[in-house]
Amino acid sequence: MANQGEGMYSWQGSLYSIFDGKVIRDLSFIFEGTDDGAFFYFTETTGGINLVFKNSTNAYYINQSALNTVLEITDVDYPSVTVPGVAYLDGYMFVMTPNGEIHNSDTADAFTSWNSLGFIQANIEPDCGVFIFKQFNYICALGKYSIEFFYDAGLPAPGSPLAPVPNLFNLIGCASARSFARNGPQVFFMGQTKHVGRSIQLLEGYQLKNISNPYIERILNKDNLETVYAFCIRTVGHSFYILTLVNSNLTLCYDATSGIWYEWTSFNGTNEVYFNAVAYAAHLGHDLLQGETDANIYDMKPTLYQDNGQPIYVRSRTELLDVGENKRKELSFIDVIADKEASSTLQIKYTVNDYQSFTAFRNVDLSLERSSLNRCGQFRRIAFESLHTSNTPFRAEALELDILPGSS
């Protein structure tokens, strides 16, 4: 895909971003590598001296002495095909092949030097390798139906220095490598077992925790996972795991701070679509996001109330409300309990027929002393939908309803 964002990383004060295999340092093109359409994963070597990044077929590096010079790891023993992910531990660089072999570079940061015997097989479960990463001081091989941990046992070359940690093995695998995202010690990925059904797994420490609910899992199960993006971002005091399912035109957002799921969207000038970001990097105090195909780097800030000049469609849709009885009730007033903001409007509509149809939106001016709607009709069960698109902050607490008993 043209201008496909394929990862970015902040290193040595510069932002390295990759689009279509083209490496951009800050604002300058510096290198065009092999673009196999796969995402790039980054790691550093001891002291941050080298930045190493790889996709499925090629691995490259930059030394701090020449920040514009990209070199390729050309050792013939470097695996020709690897799964997503790369991990660094104790001077070794580790990658994994699709058949679950964990290959390591030579030690002492000789990451450009590999030998054909330097690997260990993740074979407690006979599944395929999907993703490799590091958790604390363990190398984790995430397979299709399992996760296996390895530690640096100091085993001599030319074999692998790793040995398995059998008691940490788990029979939950990864349904999509691109669903993997990390926020410090927290690791998120879309899990699967040999039973039908996907979930979102949070690896905290060495324990897996299912954080998806039945509603989220129905969404996961419906998607074909052809194109998936995921990253974590910590902003406004919340830690978010952002998962985009392109086929479903949906971005799910898990708030790890509160344990609640939301949806995020972008407005592209015509339609509301999935959130336009594929990767995250913290860079010089900025939360930077890489656009999917627009070749942009975006800065996310709590003081921005639009997305690059386009409105943010802030929506809420409630569950059905019947106030404990199915009798007809009269809704005389809806008061919006929200922060007062000039030039801020909230639109409200409601449904009284189980979401089959809604009324037209009615505007509520949030700058007024009383922001309310009156004469809202009768209902047995009612649900509300609100929409805020103003270029202003928006914080609401409640809809306060004035309800009078009606006829039966």
């Binding site: 043209a2 201008n3 279509d20 083209k22 800050d26 604002l27 300058s28 093109f29 514009n68 039945p214 509603y215 989220i216 129905r218 969404i219 419906k222 406004v236 919340h238 708030d255 509160s258 609640i260 799921w261 939301y262 949806e263 969207t265 900025h286 070749a295 942009n296 780097i297 975006y298 800065d299 996310m300 800030k301 709590p302 003081t303 921005l304 109330y305 639009q306 997305d307 690059n308 943010i312 802030v314 929506r315 809420s316 849709r317 409300l321 106030v323 009730k329 979401y355 089959q356 649900a383 914080r395 607490e397 409640a398 809809l399 306060e400 309803l401 004035d402 309800i403 009078l404 008993p405």
Partner: protein
Amino acid sequence: MPRIRLPFGHPPTYRDPNRIKDARIMNAFLEQEYEQGETHFIKRPGIQIYDGSGGPSNLCADTDGEQSPGVLGTYSLASEIDNSGWISWFTTDQLTPEFPLPESTYEHSIVFDSVNNWWRCDTWKTGVGHLTTGWRFKNLGVLNGLATGIRAHIYAYPYPPAGNDLEFRFYKDPVGPDILSEIHVEVNNGPGPTIEGIPTNSYNVLIFPIKDLSPPPTLPPLYVENNDFLRIVSFGLFSVPLGGVCFVTSIEIYIP
């Protein structure tokens, strides 16, 4: 009947394939108020194109001789990889000028304008006995098969108040007979911005495809990598003979 305070939204509930019966919270998050325990529904942060380092970085006309602020939000790489093939080789602030040229006898000034993100190149006459004068951005880098074209973009006063047209050349280093471009291969793109009250023209100094013009012989389109010693490119600006002003805004290469 009492008033009812309603939770202002609900996490997504996937109840039917069309999701028309779903409760939803979109582009917002919930947060518990510290003291009273009320739950607030808060708009998520917005995004803008990153401005590079937090300061102005956009190209803007300096019409009054004073540096004016640029426009925030310009960290778009679209122009670099817009599939036209032309991408920025270096940003202007990464260029290092060589100044003055050894053969120069004129007065010079070359200053990087970090607000407008261009090099301001001045030269003016103080005496006689010269032929050419100018500046050079030397050793721009190794092309080595990376590109099949190179160009520089310049704003220049078409008829400077005290000078002539400027001339621009690309070199293969070492400077000498290995001039990549011929003099005056500029492509005039028409009017540029008005700078310090003076209208400019916008030029591309273009070599496309890269050819070895060094005599003799003139080789057919040469993707510089075939040349075993001259792979480094310099860009020079010359004034004959009365001085001039120009503003170098970018040097780009073409990758097919």
